[in-house]
Amino acid sequence: MKRFSLRYALMTYKLDQFYLPLAVFGLFIVVSLIMKDTPQFTNIARIYLGTVLPLLGGILAAYAILEDPALELRFATPISASRTLFERLGIIFISQAIFALFFQVIYTLLGGNFSQFVNVWYVQLAWIIPTISLMMLGCVCSLLAANSTIGALMVGMVWLVELIARGWFAENFGKYFLVFMGPLMPEHPDLIANQISLFVISAVLLLCSTALLRRQERYI
């Protein structure tokens, strides 16, 4: 059975959840234009792709499930929890991916380059891994607390702590949990281990989210 419609997934996606990433995208394009000829220009792409985009993804993911106005009706249909997660989080990831790819194109047209990264695949991993990690964190925390705002706050807190203390994280066991290693420390010797670890953690959080969402009575 189909039970999925991209058209309706988009139509039921709250537009304000699209406006915020769009506004931030626009802001970073303007900043790129202003700082085009300065030494800081090389950092703008890393900051946007590796830190800002994942933060927005995490916050949007925290609000993706429980803010559905027709949640009780959806729960009364034979839609599985994993399908609901796929539909709601998928839209957010796709929209973040579009912004990420557009930004790379515009940044390159403005004369920027990604020479800090080994190749273009590493550039993609630099935003995909943090985005997925923070999205799953936001989702699982909001479901665990049955409160979207708490999920968003957890994302913000982890983001802030890891950003400020990234040096400490990189030198300790925390290197396996540092979501910003890919974009901000692409030359770190444990980068691959870090990315594998974050991917596995994200997968575990996805399974936890699925299990939590099956307990529908917690959210109505």
């Binding site: 039970r3 139509m11 559905d68 106005p69 009706l73 009364a76 249909t77 034979p78 009575e217």
Partner: protein, 299 residues
């Protein structure tokens, strides 16, 4: 056929638990079935358990032989279910036809042609054929309820659960809605939960009254009415104080000669002028609640 045995549901853990259902037993056949009870009696919890949304703490629930307590059973029941919750949330930016179409997709109606036809049919059935292209955010409360019932019907469910469907509707809308439900009950089980006694009396041949998570009455509206026979009185009094002595005032009317009270209770011996009157369904319900020890706010 729905069979419910020793059903309990407890919310919360530790010292902060709430017993919503407390060993509830019930058998419901085809047709319109009314579920009556005061706020907080456990009606919505029962509805949600039947809809596979809430898990029972203990006991069994079978819908057409399917065990609703298992994950697989829940999915099976949801395939044959139409559900209209008490608090109906919808996507305000969608037009009525799109919303019902989307719900049809979620319910597994894959064929676009058949689905479009079915959406048109159900919107026509609920009297919204002229408003299919209007956004839901512009609808009145009654129209939103009708969209709600349309989405519940779109998969032609064998079991239709409607929770407080007439709350907030004007009298005309309520009548229209009740008639619609009766029509729908011709070939399926319709479970109507409400605390509005009149809605049950006008639509159901069979009903159960729930109080404190248990069934305190099971029978027909006529039987419930009859239960209050000999316990309903009318009294016209010019005294400022309202009648009391264990009587519950179910209605009062200010007249030129005083205030006319309609009272339900064990005895009106303390009021020699009180005249026994024929009970109505509401009197039967009030008497039942008094007998069950459920507090009823006096007027």
């Amino acid at each position: 056929m729905i069979k419910i045995n020793s059903l309990t549901k407890t919310y919360g853990t530790g010292g902060k638990t709430v017993q919503a259902l407390n060993g509830l037993d019930l058998v419901i056949g085809q047709g319109m079935f009314g579920l009556l009870g005061p706020n907080g009696a456990g009606k919505t919890t029962l509805m949600r358990i039947l809809a596979g949304i809430v898990n029972a703490t203990s006991g069994s629930v079978n819908v057409d032989g399917i065990d609703v307590n298992t994950e697989a059973g829940k999915m099976e029941v949801k395939k044959m279910l139409g559900y209209l919750p008490q608090e109906l949330g919808m996507y305000p930016e969608l037009v009525a036809a799109q919303f019902v179409d989307y719900m049809a997709i979620l319910k597994g109606l894959d064929n676009p042609v058949e689905r479009r036809e079915r959406v048109e049919n159900v919107l026509n059935m609920v009297g919204l054929s002229d408003n299919t292209g209007r956004k839901i955010k512009g609808f009145s409360g009654g129209m939103k309820r009708r969209v709600g019932i349309a989405q519940a019907l779109v998969n032609d469910p064998k079991l239709l659960i409607v929770d407080e469907p007439t709350a907030g509707l004007d009298p005309e809308e309520r009548i229209r809605f009740r008639n619609l439900l009766v029509n729908l009950a011709a070939n399926r089980t319709v479970l109507l939960s409400t605390h509005i006694v009149e809605d049950i009396g006008q639509t159901c041949r069979d009903l159960a009254v729930i109080a404190r998570g248990q069934v305190v009455f099971r029978g027909s509206p006529a039987e419930l009415t009859q239960a209050a026979s000999g316990h309903v009185w009318a009294l016209t009094s010019s005294a400022l104080e309202k009648p009391d002595h264990g009587l519950t005032i179910v209605s009062m009317l200010h007249l030129a000669e005083g205030t006319q009270y309609r009272m339900v209770g064990e005895s009106a011996a303390d009021y020699p002028n009180a005249q026994p009157v024929q009970p109505g369904l509401e009197d039967g319900y009030v008497w039942l609640m008094k007998s069950a020890g459920q507090s009823i706010d006096t007027l």
